[in-house]
Each structure stands twice: as structure tokens, then as C-alpha cells.
Amino acid sequence: MRAIRTAAAAAALSLGALAGPAWAQAPGTVERPPGEVGSERTVGVEVKLGGFKPLIDREFGNAAGAPYATTFNDSSMLLFEGSGERQLYQAMGTAGVGVSAGYAEKYAPAVLETGADAAESTSLRLVPLSLFGVYRFDYAAHVWGIPLVPYVKAGLRYTIWWCSKGASLESTTDGGLAIGGRFGWGFTGGLSLLLDVFEPRLARDFDTDAGVNHSYLFAEFNFADVNNFYSGGFDLSGRYFTFGIAFEI
């Protein structure tokens, strides 16, 4: 219970710290960095891919014979995520709040009593959801022309999971179905490369025609502890990199 309170408080503080400055500004009067050109930015969207290996075997001390390693050969799942954020503060960087959703799956043959592969497959599928606050230090990019934007995110996570064998959900020992959800928290640190500097005219046209102010390629490291705030059981935590493309609109 103490761990839950600590984690929840930390998440709330991180969200509050990021959203706080925005509350002091009326909508439509967001202060912008001097020298920034283009239409007003209000929203950010991004799509990303990465290899995600849930730390399920941590529940078993990563011992030999732990289920994820033996079933899926300890390899990562391909995770696809999309997110959207509302920018609330623009001056010395940009802050906002956002949500994200993703999907990852991993298939392997089920096994027979003998340990040999069965004819049917088994799968683990995940839908990670997140509510987060984000801060991007883009002042240098917009004012000094340095096209690198470091950023951090922190927030709450909820991951829906389910396991199937053949075409059906697996059954559990108590007669239920192998489906559920786990709460957690996480933070992300990343670096974006502002693409506008390579084709400034194209970037301005993109803004004029489609309202896309800036485009980025980015790489980020994700730290997520998704295990119902350390209460035991299915551990869908992960430490993983994702790569993607982002747009500010």
C-alpha cells in the first residue's frame, strides 16, 4: 500500500509540475519563443516502433525455466504505439499532457507434455495505454537553430493483456480466462531531430498547406514498471527503446 501511495504521488507530482505553468496562461495566449516562425502549435502526434520484452520472468527471479524465456525464447515483442499530446506551455521549451496506446504480440508453439512443440500456437498480446506529461526543450531548436530537442515524459500506465492457445483464450486454473489488466507508471527520455532544418522551404509549405509546424525523427528510452505498483503477479514492466516520427500541429 505504501508503494502504491508513493508511486501515485510521484506520478501526480510529475503531471502537476508539467501542467502547472499552463494553468497560468489563458488559451490562445501561449507565449512563444522569440524568433519562432510559422503558425501556432497546439498539438503533437507521434507514431513509434520498438522491441519490447516484458519482465514477466522477474516474478520468478529470472530462474531457468521461467515461462516467458522458455515459451518465447526470451525474445522481444514488436511494439507499435501512437500518441497525441496537447501543448499547454511554450516558452522555455514546450510542456503538455498526452495519451498513448499501443499493441504488441508474441507467438510461439504451445508445448506437449514431452516438451516437444505442439501443433497449435500460443500467444501473449498486450495493449499498453498511458496518460503522461511531457516537457521538450525545443527553445534551442527554434531560437538558436540547433536541430536537437531532448525531452522527458512521465505518467501512469495501464496494460491490457491476454493469452491464447490456438484460436481461443487460454483458461486459468480457477476456471477463468487468461485476460486482465495491470497498472503501473513509467518515464521516458528521448532525443528528437528537427527535420525542418534540412528542407526549410518544404517545412514552411507543410505548415502553410497542412498546418504541420515541425516534423521530427526521434529515439527514446522507456522505463515502465507495470505490475500493479509492485503488488506481485504478472509483471508487464519493461526497459526498451522506441523510434518514430512526430509532428507538431
Binding site: A110, G166, T172, F234
Partner: protein, 305 residues
């Protein structure tokens, strides 16, 4: 005084000619036919007393029936692949729509008993081991309302097909039976006129039971709800679109075998999570919100946390 007509008279005559031509060319009558509201119907050996409905519809503007030959719409069924202008010998006349009963548009229907189809000409329904496609035909002539118009032929753009099929598809072949957990996956090949396969299965303890059925095109069908470790004999039948059933396939044996999926291995290893027995996954965020609101209320009210 000139013998040439005035220019204005020539213009008027040309305009009138153009209008008449345009009215005649643009006002085309269309004939639409269908059987049981479809363009293809299959009837089987046991359908001799069944009655089909042949629907017709005429649509056009500025047209009426031609006063000469083929002024009335005739609808018939033929054994031939093409229709011609009138029912041929052996064809079945479905009905005649008199020209006086419609002006520019009209629609209606005729009953058609399966036993009267031309496939039975010279014989009686049913016919054994027969598969025959028949076309539903219609023909009439219409004339433009404007003076001087020529009668035009009207035929349906699409000829509905009635297939009499008392021929059973060839027996399917089971190519393999794959043991699964409490199930058998049956892989098979079936003839192209098969639309459905049905499974029959039996253990050593009893007679054949009816199993699931599924599309023939998939090439495999799963028989589940079985007991692991018990050997079952399985065979399948194919059905065509008319419902004719093939002879039985080869019989094959298979034994379902216990297998373990990821979550079963997780629980075998001592994992604590039990999955969702009572609350679906989507309910969990709602439960969390309820928990948080109750907690906030209790904190504000000084209640026990």
C-alpha cells in the same frame, strides 16, 4: 422569287429532326428479370414441388409497346445458353405481359414450379444425377412515343440462371488429422462444386456423431470438445450449393493431446495472476476509478482508509 426555302424554315426543320432523333435515342426501355430476387438459384432433387418466383420490371421514358410483333412481353426458361426472340421447342413459358397492361413502366411476377422446368421436358421430376443450368429469358419490342420512331428490341442485360442439381459432389479427401488440445484439426480437399463440409466422428465407445460444418474452401475444419488421450475416427461429407451430399470421405483416426500455452506454463511455474474470472479487462479502470473516488470521499469525511 427564289425556289429555295427560307433559311429560317430549314433551321426549324433541322431542330425538329434533332429533337425527334434525340427523344428516340435517349428514351430506352430496360427489362430486368430475377428469380427469387436473385440472379442465380439452385434447386435440388427434392425440390420438385417447390415454386420459384420470377420477377420482371420494365422501365423507360417516352416509350410504349410496339404495335407490331412482340408487343407483349414474353418470359420463358430455356435449356440453351442463349435466348433468341421466342421460346424454343422444349422451353417453358413462364408468362406473358400484355402490352395493354403497361405504358412506360411496369413490374410484376410469375410463379414457376420446379417440376415444369425445361430440364424435365420429355421426363419427370426428379432426375437422378443431373446438373443443368437454365436461363430465364424475356423479350419484347417498344416504340418511341414520338412520330416516326422505330420499334426497338428490349432484352434483359442479365439473364438469371436456374440450376437443377441432383448430382452429389465427389467425396472429399482427408489429407491429415492434426492432434490438438481436446481437438482435432482435419485438413482436407474437396471438389470445386462443394460449398460446405460436415464432420462426423466416433470414438471406440460409440457410433458416429454429427460434428461441426464449415466452408469447403478453407481446406481445414476443427473438431473440438473432445477428450485428450481418446482416439477418434473422423470422416467428412461435402455439400454443394443445392444441398446434395457427397459420399463419405476416407476415415482417419486422431488422438487429441494435452498441450500447454504460455499462461498455463506461467501458472505451472507458480505465477500469482489468475486472469479474469469475474471482471472483464475493460472493467478494471472503472474499478480503479470507483476505488479512488471512494478513497477520496472517505478521506474528506474522515472515514477509515
Amino acid at each position: 422569287m427564289s425556289l429555295r426555302p427560307p433559311i429560317s424554315s430549314i433551321r426549324v426543320a433541322l431542330c425538329l429532326a434533332a429533337l425527334v432523333t434525340a427523344a428516340g435515342a435517349g428514351a430506352q426501355t430496360t427489362l430486368t428479370l430475377n428469380v427469387n430476387n436473385g440472379t442465380a438459384v439452385a434447386v435440388a432433387k427434392d425440390d420438385c414441388t417447390r415454386t420459384l418466383t420470377v420477377n420482371w420490371a420494365l422501365a423507360g421514358t417516352g416509350q410504349s409497346g410496339c404495335s407490331g410483333d412482340h408487343a407483349d412481353l414474353q418470359i420463358w426458361v430455356t435449356n440453351n445458353t442463349t435466348c433468341g426472340l421466342d421460346p424454343a421447342s422444349g422451353d417453358t413459358l413462364v408468362g406473358t405481359v400484355l402490352q395493354s397492361t403497361w405504358t412506360t413502366t411496369g413490374s410484376g411476377s410469375f410463379p414457376l414450379t420446379v417440376s415444369s422446368l425445361p430440364v424435365f421436358a420429355g421426363g419427370t421430376c426428379p432426375l437422378a444425377d443431373t446438373q443443368k443450368d437454365m436461363k430465364v429469358c424475356g423479350y419484347l419490342k417498344t416504340a418511341p412515343v414520338v412520330l416516326g420512331g422505330q420499334c426497338q428490341e428490349v432484352k434483359p442485360a442479365t439473364l438469371p440462371t436456374i440450376t437443377y442439381d441432383s448430382q452429389a459432389p465427389a467425396a472429399p479427401v482427408i489429407t491429415s488429422v492434426v492432434p490438438q488440445d481436446k481437438a482435432l484439426l482435419i485438413n482436407f480437399t474437396a471438389s470445386t462444386d462443394s460449398t460446405l463440409v460436415k464432420v462426423a466422428y466416433a470414438s471406440a465407445l460409440g457410433p458416429y456423431n454429427d460434428g461441426p460444418s464449415g466452408p469447403a474452401a478453407t481446406g481445414s475444419i476443427k473438431l473440438d470438445g473432445l477428450d485428450n488421450g481418446v482416439t477418434y475416427a473422423v470422416l467428412i461429407y461435402a455439400e454443394d450449393v443445392a444441398g446434395n451430399q457427397s459420399p463419405a470421405s476416407n476415415a482417419e483416426a486422431g488422438t487429441p493431446v494435452q498441450s500447454y500455452g504460455f499462461f498455463e506454463k506461467y501458472q505451472q511455474a507458480g505465477g500469482q495472476t489468475q486472469g479474469c474470472a469475474a471482471a472483464p479487462a475493460g472493467a478494471l479502470p472503472l474499478l480503479a476509478l470507483v476505488w479512488m473516488s471512494r478513497r477520496r470521499r472517505s478521506m474528506l469525511g474522515g472515514g477509515r482508509s
